[in-house]
Amino acid sequence: MAELFHRKLERTAIGFVLAIIAAASVGGLVEIAPLFTIDETVEEAPDMRLYTPLELAGRNIYVREGCYACHSQMIRTLQDEVERYGPYSLAVESKHDHPMLWGSKRTGPDLARVGGKYSDFWHVAHLTNPRDVVPDSNMPAYPWLARTELRLNDLPLHLKALRAAGVPYTDAMVENAAVDAYDQATPESSTSSGVTERYGEKTQVRVFDDVATQVTEMDALVAYLQVLGRLTDAAYKNTAAPQKPPEPVK
């Protein structure tokens, strides 16, 4: 008898657990389930290209340093934001972003369309010590980026992992990831045409940090910053008043 009573008690605890799951999961299901088919509603952007290995490495540095804590990458559909930062962000633009870096706080300005707004030289100086170029800035200085060599040998593994997560990197891209990263930042090397063949003519191949002898984390981060908002022109075409994307600053 006592045994039976005990069983019943145990059942009510389990029943209770099920009730909580039932109550709590509805909201999540209703909101998230439709997002599995959201690809149908995301705009088309046939011209969109993938991050090159160098840009991806730069993105990983952006992730590592927690830049998202102060910079958003999401221009909202508000007039003042569009005037300040450029056309509002489209869903398709972060289609291949694992994770997305929309951010939630602007201690510094939005970076969704910072690519091409400033020169490489400005970025390098700014990252080395922001107060050299913007005296009132409260951004941390990142002088060690220019001193630290970029790890290249594991880039194929990174592309592979991303492919497993759904980014359409081809076999050639995966195989050549390390070489492509090196070449993109050292244009004198003989094979540098490979990057543009695989990632498109518009890929920016140049020495980003002013030091051609080695590929540093600074090269990668600046390459990433310079491509922000420039993977596709969709945001400039699909708006009420289509415009041409601005010419990048050299």
Binding site: V26, E31, A33, P34, T37, E40
Partner: protein, 56 residues
């Protein structure tokens, strides 16, 4: 995928709402059922009991 996005959204919106109302009614019945009153009053008082050891 076979299910279209719009269909899924419509399903979520309508059935999500029905589900919500249903659960809420269930909770209201549980809370205000007269037979539960004694149980709740006991629970309310029992945390104030002084004895600090498990019952055996």
């Amino acid at each position: 995928m076979d299910i279209s996005h719009d269909a899924l959204v419509a399903f979520s919106k309508s059935w999500g709402l029905f589900y919500l109302i249903g659960l809420m009614i269930g909770v209201l019945i549980y809370t205000f059922r007269p037979s539960n009153r004694g149980k709740f009053n006991r629970a309310k008082q029992s945390v104030l009991d002084q004895d600090d050891k498990p019952w055996t």
